[in-house]
Amino acid sequence: MSNTITERDVFALLNAPIDIAATVSEVRTERDGAIVTFDGFVRHESHGRQTLYLEYEAYESMALAKMKEIGGLIHERFAVDKVAILHRLGRLEIGETSVFIAISAPHRAAAFEACRFAIDTLKRTVPIWKKEYFADGAVWADGELPPAPPSAPQGAS
């Protein structure tokens, strides 16, 4: 599937389970003193209904581009070392990791802040969609509307 590993960072969309230990190893270097991770996984219920499983789909090329943009913003804003952002696609069972973020830094404060920024921004701007399957049907999860760009000037080309 789509993935990008730069010298510094890792961004990936995966159809197979995310290897959490390997991802943490990837961002752990001797330059650092801390790693903060976020492990988002499938909950057994949604709005009081029992979930059977989830299906994720993405606009893959755009999703990967937006994940890289988040990485770029993180390096601009926070004193961190390496960033890994991985997201699963396809069918996920209860308890499986859907998104995993690992960020290393010399000091913990920047890693905590950057990790929070990464997941919050991913949930608002990365074109990935989740369909929730229940015993009595399926629904597309209520999502977040990415911030609408201002209108283009009329007559602009």
Binding site: E57, Y59, V99, K123, P127, K131, A141, E144, P146, S151
Partner: protein
């Protein structure tokens, strides 16, 4: 006044709820010179009436960037009408 000669093609992608309502995941379509993303969506909401009600909850993308609805289309563009995102 657009002539047939000034028409061009764009690629349109459909995801999530929009893909299900339209029943297609992508197609190439011909548009008139000067048309905007809003004009293109209008055409799809006539062809797939269930889409019309979703317009307020969609954002448009052109070549993998979120753009305003009044953005003019350019030959070779890849367009998508994206439902609210729900990754994570």
């Amino acid at each position: 006044m657009p002539s047939v000669l000034s028409n061009f093609r764009v690629q349109v992608l459909f995801f999530g709820r929009v893909r299900e309502l339209a029943g297609i995941s992508q197609e190439s379509t011909e548009v008139a010179n000067g048309a905007t993303l809003a004009d293109l969506f209008e055409r799809y909401s006539i062809r797939f009436p269930e889409l019309a009600a979703f317009r307020p909850s969609l954002v448009a993308s052109r070549n993998q960037e979120f753009v305003p609805w009044n953005t003019p289309l350019v030959e070779g563009d890849t367009i998508a009408f994206l439902p609210p995102v729900s990754g994570g």
